[in-house]
Symmetry: C2
Subunit: 313 residues, 2 copies
């Protein structure tokens, strides 16, 4: 079959891939072999579009900026596929093969071929969990026979167990969100000075991390101790944010590492200062860490799926 025979399914010269999150849009024009040719990014995330701007007009603007060919198909991952997004792309259930992700993509009703990749749900009643966007990053950083553990730090950190290319189990930790909520709205607001990102060599971060790894059931007491330490003059307010970060990341690591039977290595999908904190913390626990940039992971995952849908066969 050649493109001329079946233009809607055959190989294309180029396609557009989009990581469409809650509050951001990142799009790339990709050649048939997966090379990024152009990039367009903006703050028109799912909330912005669902809130009135609409998804089609925002995508149209970015396609123009990318100089996308008129018939180039578009593959999207992320919150645009949520129930409150553009078109819902229902979760596929674990266990599921990452290289079959594109088969769950949902077509948008539009003249152009636009599809949205599904998220993944863990449907067991005692460990329910969901991801949307991260599944595409996982596809981007794993070989089709990969077995191992992947960590994706963030607002909602994820730890994913992959066996022979299949997502078999995962857990989401509210680490980043708890940091924000506690630092802004709890009594610890007095103990946490708003500062820039915590550097990985911060002694207060390491102290918090160590305390949590040593006493991983004590989080809710350790939080109060952070405040008490300052009241009693043991610690400076300037160290509050770093210690809070250490306590929350340490609690996550202790549970995740314990749960997976003290693994020897982990792939870390990280970026910036937060990625470096996790890198340091995981290495300190004796794990071999391979770090892959989060944005690159999304783009590579999208490109892989797009090639499976529209690439030369």
């Amino acid at each position: 079959m050649t493109p001329a025979e079946n233009p809607s399914r055959g190989a294309r010269d180029a396609f557009v891939v989009v990581d469409w999150g809650t509050s951001s849009f990142r799009g790339w024009l990709i050649s048939a072999d997966g090379t990024a040719l152009a990039e367009s990014r903006g703050s028109e995330g799912m909330l912005h579009c669902a809130g009135g701007a609409g998804f089609a007009p925002v995508l149209g603007d970015h396609l123009a900026r990318l100089g996308a060919p008129e018939r180039a198909p578009v593959l999207i991952c992320g919150m645009a596929g949520a129930r409150q997004g553009w078109v819902e792309a229902p979760y596929i259930k674990t266990p599921t093969r990452l290289d079959a992700l594109h088969e769950g993509a949902i077509r948008v009703d539009a003249p152009r071929d636009i599809r949205i990749l599904p998220g993944i749900a863990q449907g067991e009643a005692d460990r329910p969990d969901v991801m949307r966007g991260e599944e595409t990053q996982l596809l981007g950083v794993t070989e089709s026979d990969f077995t191992g553990l992947v960590c994706i730090p963030g607002t909602h950190s994820k730890w994913i167990r992959i066996e022979d290319g299949r997502v078999v189990e995962f857990s989401t930790y509210m680490t980043g969100e708890l940091f924000s909520v506690i630092a802004q709205h709890s009594i610890l607001a007095h103990a946490v000075e708003p500062t820039g990102p915590t550097p990985a060599d911060s002694p207060a971060f390491r102290a918090g991390l160590g305390a949590a790894l040593k006493a991983p059931t004590a989080l809710t007491a350790s939080l109060f101790r952070l405040r008490a330490a300052q009241l009693l003059g043991f610690e400076q307010r300037a160290d509050g944010a770093a210690r809070l970060s250490g306590l929350l990341i340490g609690t996550e690591l202790a549970d995740a590492i314990g749960r997976h039977g003290s693994p020897r290595s982990v792939r870390l999908i990280g970026a910036g200062a937060l990625g470096r904190l996790y890198e340091m913390a995981l290495a300190a626990r004796g794990l071999d860490v391979t770090t892959i940039d989060a944005e690159q992971a999304s783009r590579r995952g999208l490109a892989k799926a797009a090639i499976r849908i529209w690439g030369a066969t």
Copy 2:
């Protein structure tokens, strides 16, 4: 020595005791033998008074309402003695005898004999902690040779180890405050319907409690699962508050009970629905629970200390 010989130290007919918290005032006129003769309560807590109303005028109003004799002395516990309160009553350090608490009381500069009881601080750098107000409740519910564990649930729950009448160690858990901030300001706000107090027989509370006791390091993941369970249709939004409460209380109990080597009994200073939740949860863990009403504990502790200061010798 008789009252006539030393009116400032001798036995009095009556005195006034006040539990002056962050956002409440509770005062009692007490006879020389500790019996409550009258009660006066209001919302003029420490924040209200420090914010402009002043402490002396508020106390004056309540003394009038109580019909307190002109020379009746006043003993206060709670946040009125904090740094940001009326007069700071510095923390006394653990280990400390509860029946010597009154010796740390600070005199307010006023014509009447007004004293504020100190809080207790745990000064070790690796487990810093503070209490202010709870020390008086502890005095109220323990005999002078008491050995055992006391739990005081609340915004900042406290677990206190007492040996032969001395506070030797304690931990504060941010359980109640975390419930509020998470329910109001996190993504779980969508999963937690504002409801009345959780009944102790709520299946969702018991499920959350059980999950936390089984996996006490998993709190930050269990919180996200609460949301995921609703997204996937396993749970109703109406059950969110009860489950969140169960998760947080269960995490506190697992740590506190583990820390104290699985004790066989505990004195619970509780009140209302929250007290009943702890009662049920502790009993379910096989502990003998003796519950004492929180307000009664404060009043009895204040009366005990007042009698030591001003009572007949």
